[in-house]
Symmetry: C2
C-alpha cells in the first residue's frame, strides 16, 4: 500500500460522521444510499461528499442499481491499512 493510499485511509477514518457512515455500511452486505440518508443528521450533499472520500480511500465501493446507489464495504483495504500500521509502528 502506497503512502498516499495509507494517508487517504487515515484521513477518511478521522472524521466522526464519516466513520459512522463506514461503520453502518460495514454491518450489512450492501446498503442503499437512501437508507443511510435516513439515519444521519447531515444533508444528502454532505453524505455524498463523505461517500466520495470513502470511495477514494477504497474503503467502500459503489454500484448503481436503477435509481439507487448501493454501498459495499471493502474489508481488504482496512486489512491492508492495519498491516501497514503494524509494519510502520514497530521497532524492526
Amino acid at each position: 500500500m502506497s503512502f498516499d493510499q495509507f494517508q487517504r485511509v487515515a484521513k477518511a477514518l478521522a472524521d466522526p460522521t464519516r466513520f459512522d457512515i463506514l461503520e453502518k455500511i460495514s454491518k450489512e452486505q450492501e446498503v442503499p444510499c437512501v437508507n443511510l440518508k435516513n439515519q444521519l443528521a447531515v444533508t444528502q450533499a454532505t453524505l455524498s461528499h463523505h461517500l466520495r472520500e470513502l470511495e477514494d480511500a477504497e474503503l467502500i465501493e459503489t454500484r448503481r442499481e436503477g435509481r439507487f446507489v448501493m454501498l459495499r464495504h471493502r474489508p481488504e483495504t482496512m486489512a491492508g491499512y492495519l498491516e501497514e500500521l503494524n509494519r510502520r509502528l514497530s521497532k524492526a
Copy 2:
C-alpha cells in the same frame, strides 16, 4: 476505549508530519526531543504542538531528564485502537 479517545487517536494518525514523528519514536526505546528536531523540516514550536497531540491521544509518553525531554511510544494504545477498529468494522 471511549469513542473520544478513539477519535483522538484517529486524528493523531491522520497528519503525515505527526505520523512521521510517531513512527520515528516507535523505532527506539526512547528518543530525546532534540534528536527528533534535527530530523524534521518543521520548527521546534510545530514539533512541540504535534508531540502534545500525540501525548493527548496517549500514543506517546514524555519524561523530563534534566534539560531534555525523552519520548516513548505506548504500543498498548495502538493495540487498543486496532481492537476497537476491528470491533466496529465487522458485521457482528
